[in-house]
Point group: C2
Chain length 444, copies 2
């Protein structure tokens, strides 16, 4: 190996695995494969573990040799399942065949659960205790079998039939006198079944401040543990999903720079299309009020301003309420309270904007050459419409995510763009009705 390469290799070896993983992710596929080859073997394994599953899959594809396949055998069973999900079935079968019988059993066991179930992300390698053990015996057990376990900090306690009857921690075991019984150290277990949705399990772990959540089967028998690092990953994924849905797109499910342009376009195309079709309602509304529009063309000037403001007010309400639902602050039975609050917020905000719009609007219209009386009346139409539109938008913006949640749709789908598009048409109706009422002589 040349001198500069050796230097580069030494520099690389000084980096942290997760920093290197981040850098590798940002490279093109070919450069990434070359760079990965330069890593010393131990570091390469750590970096490989830190990569996202889609990137691991690409690397595996680019470096078709035994050295890299060995890494797959070294992954924890739950991480391995995540990677296998990214690969074509043929590669998966080859990789599983390469595993030791024990690892193969653990892996295929996890693969049997549905994709969104926490069973797929749990670790089947844990240390379980019996209630009749002493703290000293428990510590010996951790020493004997803990080396292979994903965590030794959360210690589930099981009965003879493997039913989960309690949970204790290495902290309690270490701090207790060695002769103390585990039965005295354990608490009521907080657990989830293997078929629980992974996001639900992750939120439970987070809310209960646990390092690991014991996972049981339908008969309440212990089958694995779900650790906090996997839970954090799930919650980050769920947040990314909420974020992108709130922007009217579907999640990419891989790092941005790794996703192809057609893939990015696909995550947005359906929503953009649906929203445009929904927006064609505004064309029909304007078509209905064409007589008013022709009579007072100046009304058209304020259309983008009005519907834009309504959209913004609706997006604000929707975002706040969607987040409150996601973190469990608001439930469906709070609907009446939430709507009453948002209606009041809408009136407050609408009145503030209306005051400004009336002043500025009158001034603008007078400068433009409208007679003073007409100017004030047109500005009044603008102001009154703003109060109506803001109130409607804030209420609708809060209502829609709550209804979505109620009927089992992800509330984040009721995104800012969705709300905006929906309140646009109704905002126009309010505007032209107010105009017809106040400007009947001009419209004739």
């Amino acid at each position: 190996m040349d001198q500069p390469y050796r230097q580069l290799r030494r520099d690389l070896a000084r980096q942290r695995p997760f920093d290197l993983a981040e850098e590798l992710t940002r490279l093109g596929r070919t450069e990434r494969a070359v760079a990965f080859r330069l890593l010393p073997k131990d570091l390469a394994l750590a970096v490989f573990e830190a990569l996202d599953a889609p990137v691991q899959g690409e690397l595996l594809d680019d470096l078709r040799d035994e050295a890299v396949r060995e890494f797959v055998a070294q992954l924890d069973p739950d991480d391995r399942v995540e990677l296998l999900d990214e690969l074509p079935a043929k590669v998966v079968n080859k990789l599983i065949a390469d595993l030791s019988p024990h690892e193969r059993l653990l892996t295929t066991g996890l693969l049997g659960y549905p994709p969104e179930a926490v069973g797929r992300m749990m670790s089947p390698e844990y240390v379980a205790l019996k209630a009749t053990m002493t703290a000293g015996q428990a510590l010996e057990r951790v020493r004997a079998v803990g080396g292979a376990a994903e965590t030794v900090y959360t210690l589930p306690v099981i009965a003879e039939d493997r039913r989960l009857i309690g949970v204790t921690s290495l902290r309690q075991v270490v701090l207790a006198p060695p002769e103390r019984q585990i039965a005295e150290l354990m608490t009521e277990p907080i657990s989830a079944t293997a078929l629980t949705d992974r996001e639900t399990a992750a939120r439970l772990l987070q809310e209960a401040d646990l390092l690991a959540l014991p996972i049981v089967d339908a008969e309440d028998r212990l089958v694995g543990v779900f650790t906090f690092d996997d839970a954090m990953e799930v919650l980050e994924g769920a947040d990314t999903e909420d974020h992108t849905r709130a922007g009217g797109a579907e999640p990419l499910r891989r790092p941005y720079l790794v996703a192809s342009v057609p893939r990015i376009a696909r995550t947005r195309a359906v929503w953009l299309l649906v929203l445009m079709v929904a927006a064609s309602l505004t064309v029909l509304v304007l078509n209905t009020f064409e007589a008013e529009l022709e009579a007072v063309v100046v009304l058209a000037l304020f259309v983008p301003l009005l519907i834009g403001t309504g959209g913004n007010a609706g997006a604000q309400a929707a975002t706040t309420v969607t987040r409150a639902i996601a973190v469990g602050e608001v439930r469906f039975r709070d609907l009446a309270r939430v709507l009453a609050r948002e209606a009041r917020v809408g009136v407050l905000l609408g009145t503030m904007l209306a005051t400004l719009a009336f002043g500025a609007g009158t001034l603008f219209l007078v400068l433009r050459g409208e007679p003073g009386g007409d100017a004030a009346r047109i500005a009044a139409v603008l102001a009154i419409s703003l109060v109506g539109i803001c109130t409607l938008a804030a209420t609708a913006g809060a209502l829609m995510p709550m209804l979505a949640k109620r009927i089992g749709i992800d509330p984040a789908v009721v995104s800012a763009p969705f709300i905006t598009t929906t309140v646009d048409a109704s905002g126009l109706v309010i505007y032209f009705l107010v105009a017809k009422l106040l400007l009947s002589d001009l419209i004739g």
Copy 2:
């Protein structure tokens, strides 16, 4: 105590503390204080710890008695600091005076750090080891002083001058032979200084998959540990901030149902106002093209549809890129790549929508009674504008959060509403310029 109360009390005692905390948060202040009083004392402490700091503050205010003040003394120093931040200075001084000298020292130490610094959230109660200890001695040390520590799983290793020289874990200490030296069990420490921004520290902890991050002072001396549960709380808060900003509002910083209506309105008022002022640019643009609008009034019908679609395309790009920045997938030096990708995505999506809009638009205009040739030409204006607007919107939507990040503004501030409002005016310019070009005979 009456029979029904005793029953209620028994029912309550069976709930999990974090479920009770969630329920209490959703109650009105008076009901919450009454319900809290019904809790058995041990449970009450656990529930108090699980409440958000603003709600703890309200309870403290409503239950002005010694029993509740004792709870403050029982909190971990970092949680106590979070609560004290919510209270008026007079109450804070009284509460601090009530603490034991040791707890007082720990608390005021944390209070000395700036609000956003990780120093305020770290725990000053940890177990530090020396490199010269054996694993057996280390375990004894954990047994001796671990009872009061917030975590005993991450064990920082310090030199004589308290400088952090390594880190090991209870797992390694327990699994190693008792005579093994800590120097052999420790690894290079990943740490942060006490003045590090708490979100940065939390992301570091998450990326490195740590249970706790050692915190050092400017001289690299160990001053505390930042644990994963606090990090998860910080990241959830940061996500809420990003979410609400993406919807064009400021975070409430307290549970939705606890925040007052004027407080909610305040978090939205400034942005709504700024956006409306920005939106008045569309009034000026339309005013400039009034001649075209009067000549072909039908052009006005498509204004909301066009700018709405542009806004949606921009919001999609902004959301994706903002999230990619937040999780570290994209940096400023990727700007050219990101813009090139978004421009291509914009052209792809714009072309798709244009095809649909040309067909549907021609049909609509013919049904409305326009001559066939004019209908097709107006629909062509619509289609060409859509390609231009989508490309502009996707590029601008990606550019703005990256520029914001570069100049040190939270990229999430460049929200969907912000992008929408910005691309509205430029979209209108594109639309009317294309119209002037293609419909010169009609406009005259």
